[in-house]
């Protein structure tokens, strides 16, 4: 109950007018930054970090956390409106979100994204508040073999996303895996698929690929049919129907669970988490065919999972000083400059600091909901802008976004190349989602596998002698088998 006392005190601090103001500014800035493709939470925080430099510690931290959450929200907006995922985690949102926008339902899509994010994020924060230290300890027990099991489980999603032709789905995934291997091997430094080009050795950046595959491809396809606007369908209601929201309640809860617990694990990227959550939802649903064509649960699930994962990611950050994603690493260094000393003693030694921060995260979540819901109408109207204006804007955003990741024109070239590739893939009916998923999962798979082998002097037996690993691998195989059978029946 002491916890509650601290939390209340934290709220008192967070709710002062000054701090609220900074939370607001942070949320707005973060959202703006998140909306810009290529500038995800990581670069967003890095860019905006100096701005907080001349603030006293508490407001500065509140602003930083607000920026982080805001960036996550912003990324979903463009994903839904124009098929440009603002960052890795929003890729899955495009699958159904953009389809909803095409059908004139951008409003409900955005609204559900905001609501789901809020619900899941808040629930996740509750988890953070009360369970941080024991959860952190649990997270430590996940070692390389367990990660391998987790990745095997995630790969079963590839089969699920393969659409009509399994061969095409798998080929797409294999392509993604190949792209992931280009560059210097992160573990041994060996050059792979470099062909003498120092640009290639830098690896093929993920964001550049998805900008090309989603944004640019979409414009190329759109131009074919001489689109007059992103959505020609009449702009329907701005809010989802009550029935729809009710059916999403279960979705949001499931997404929170999946997102929070996977977000705890350092090294489990948000992208993978949103795919898994989407897949869970699809399997759970009685009408899975709707997914990919504008199912509202297909937006609620990944969005919720994202925000829950964000909250989950704070557990190892606070309890162990371990950032689960690069964005959190930047956030951590920002926080440390203000005197935060993460570690299990954080809650004991600096309770004021932590609880104010957590309270302001709750506040930030509410603030973002309040900010975004009214804006839904505004954003949705963007879909009606003449395509002649939208297309150049989208492309300019894409070019800048790809460039800004590493300040490199090579990445812009990559985006162009994948734009062309994406177009071909659409024409030849190769699904793009498996490519993206494989791109995310392959590095994880490789490091988990190689590390596991080196832990056991090269013996693969380690993968079958650790209980959690075995469970995960068997689950993955079972899920894959189940999906294959389900396809056969169709």
């Amino acid at each position: 109950m002491e916890t509650l006392g601290f939390l209340l005190h934290g709220f008192a601090q967070a709710l002062t007018l000054q701090n609220l103001l900074f939370a607001l500014i942070g949320s707005v800035l973060g959202t703006l930054v998140g909306v810009l493709p290529g500038i995800g939470p990581t670069s967003g925080i890095a860019i905006l970090l100096p701005l907080t430099g001349f603030l006293p510690p508490v407001p500065a931290i509140i602003m930083l956390a607000a920026i982080y959450y805001g960036a996550m929200y912003g990324g979903s907006t463009t994903a839904i409106l124009v098929n440009i995922p603002g960052e890795v985690a929003s890729v899955v949102t495009t699958l159904d979100g953009y389809q909803m926008a095409r059908q004139g339902r951008a409003g409900p899509a955005l609204a559900v994204a905001a609501i789901s994010s809020f619900v899941a994020g808040t629930l996740g924060l509750i988890g953070l508040t009360f369970f941080a230290p024991p959860l952190a300890d649990m997270a430590l027990r996940i070692g390389p073999p367990e990660y391998f099991g987790l990745v095997v489980l995630s790969f079963s999603v590839v089969v699920s996303l393969s659409g009509a032709s399994l061969v095409k789905g798998l080929s797409s995934a294999a392509l993604g895996a190949l792209v992931a291997l280009v560059g210097l091997d992160p573990m041994s430094g060996v050059r792979r698929f470099g062909f003498g080009s120092s640009d290639l050795l830098g690896g093929i950046d993920f964001i550049a690929v998805i900008i090309g595959l989603f944004a640019i491809t979409e414009v190329l396809v759109g131009v074919e049919t001489s689109l007059t606007a992103v959505s020609v369908a009449a702009l329907g209601k701005l809010m989802p129907l009550w029935d729809e929201l009710r059916s999403c309640v279960g979705t949001m809860l499931r997404a929170t669970g999946v997102g929070f617990f996977l977000g705890l694990l350092p090294g489990c990227t948000p992208g993978a988490i949103s795919f898994i959550s989407y897949d869970v939802e699809k399997r759970w649903s009685r009408t899975p065919e709707r997914f990919g064509h504008g199912a509202i649960e297909g937006v609620a699930a990944p969005e919720g999972a994202n925000n829950a994962a964000t909250s989950g990611g704070f557990v190892p950050l606070f309890a162990l000083g371990l950032p689960a994603t690069p964005a959190l690493a930047v956030l951590l260094s920002g926080l440390m400059i203000y005197g935060l000393q993460p570690g299990p003693l954080l809650f004991e030694k600096q309770p004021e600091f932590v609880w104010t921060l957590i309270a302001s995260m709750y506040v930030g979540n509410v603030m973002l909901l309040i900010l975004n819901l009214p804006l839904v109408g505004l954003w949705a109207r963007l879909c009606k802008l003449p395509y002649a204006i939208m297309a150049p804007l989208i492309l300019i955003f894409s070019v800048l976004g790809a460039f800004s990741v590493r300040n490199s024109f090579f990445d812009v070239g990559v985006a162009l190349a994948f734009g062309a590739l994406g177009y071909l893939m659409v024409k030849l009916a190769y699904p793009t989602a498996p490519l993206v998923l494989a791109l995310i999962l392959t590095p994880m798979l490789e490091s988990a596998l190689r590390q596991s082998l080196s832990m056991a002097h090269g013996s693969p037996l380690i993968l079958v002698t650790r209980p959690i690993t075995v469970i995960l691998i068997l689950a993955g195989l079972a899920l894959t088998a189940w999906t294959l059978l389900a396809r056969r029946r169709r």
Binding site: I45, G53, L140, G202, L322, P323, L332, S333, N407
Partner: protein
């Protein structure tokens, strides 16, 4: 427009008041290129420097991240920029001595730059899990010698600091390295996590990477490679005290510029950084992000790098790291 006017005005005032006839450097924003992702060891030092310089000179100094190819991409960019002092390079051990020790085929030369100053050190701490039966480096050495096949150590990358620090220790203690298990992680943070979770038994990462878990009592520091004990870790003996005086691998970050950078600019930066190294506020900031301030001027910095290279080359060859 206003900005240009103001800057011009500042320039005139500075020139009128100052001893030099040229407009005082810097007259426009300076970029420090960090060839690694934001949040990492190099990035943190760059931001420390940038904040300090911005304040002192009233001109914004920006950190530009250009990660890729283990730091080669960004470094190439910085070294190829115009030597006018407006594009500089944050140079860490990873793109200098350790890189040249490990790789024989680097697309730039170690002397193809203008060294400015060494700024921060990030000392190595040898660590084990909190409840590990090993209480000192000597225990570790004994255990590894007795049963190398079940000794697992982690490194944050084959050519990273840890690779050198741990291998220096293992070779020095006469342990049959080829029979041990080396687990390679993609960075310091995963390595430390794995150590805390008991998936590996030993690590030798940098202070900034290890401090969180040490403070949280998940891992224990056995020795720190530094002339004296680190503030905040009074119970961790130095390597010398632990009986291994020859251990001397250390992570560091410094500032450099493209080749042929004019001497006055180098001097100005070196002067500023030397001043910073004595400024208590700066030192305090640095400690907060777990960096030790250690200043070396341009010549001393270059000297330092060459000595490091001499030290690491044989180690890299023995480890089979050198390609």
């Amino acid at each position: 427009m206003l900005r240009i006017l103001l800057t011009g005005l500042l320039g005139v005032v500075a020139a009128a008041g100052g001893a030099d006839a040229q407009p005082a450097y810097p007259t426009k924003p300076v970029d420090i290129i960090v060839a690694f992702a934001p949040g990492g060891g190099a990035d943190v030092t760059a931001r420390l420097i940038a904040a300090y310089a911005s304040k002192k000179w009233g001109q914004s100094v920006n950190v530009v991240n250009m990660p890729g190819a283990s730091g080669i991409t960004g470094t190439l960019r910085a070294l190829g920029a115009r030597p006018d002092g407006y594009t500089l390079l944050l140079e860490p051990h990873a793109t200098s001595s350790m890189l040249f020790a490990a790789e024989s085929d680097v697309p730039f030369k170690m002397d193809g730059k203008t060294p400015i100053a060494l700024v921060t050190l990030d000392p190595v701490i040898y660590t084990v899990k909190e409840d590990s039966p090993w209480k000192s480096l000597k225990d570790v050495a004994a255990a590894a010698k007795a049963d190398p096949k079940s000794f697992r150590y982690g490194v944050g990358g084959v050519t990273a600091v840890a690779s050198f620090s741990v291998s220096q220790f293992l070779f020095g203690a006469g342990i049959p390295v080829a029979e041990t298990n080396r687990v390679v992680f993609t960075g310091g943070a995963p390595t430390i996590t794995a150590l805390a979770g008991g998936h590996i038994d030993f690590a030798g990462q940098q202070w900034s990477e290890s401090t969180g878990m040490i403070g949280g009592k998940k891992i224990r520091g056995l020795a720190v490679v530094h002339p004296s004990r680190l503030p905040g870790l009074p119970d961790v003996p130095t390597a010398r005290e632990a009986g291994f005086p020859d251990l001397d691998v250390v992570g560091w970050q410094g500032l450099s510029g493209p080749p042929k950078l004019p001497a006055p600019i180098v001097a100005k930066w070196a002067g500023l950084l030397e001043e910073a190294s004595k400024d208590p506020a700066f030192l305090e900031q640095a400690l907060k992000v777990n960096k030790v301030i250690a200043f070396k001027g341009p010549e001393a910095f270059w000297q330092f790098q060459q000595e490091e290279l001499k030290k690491y080359l044989p180690l890299a060859t023995k480890m089979g790291i050198r390609k």
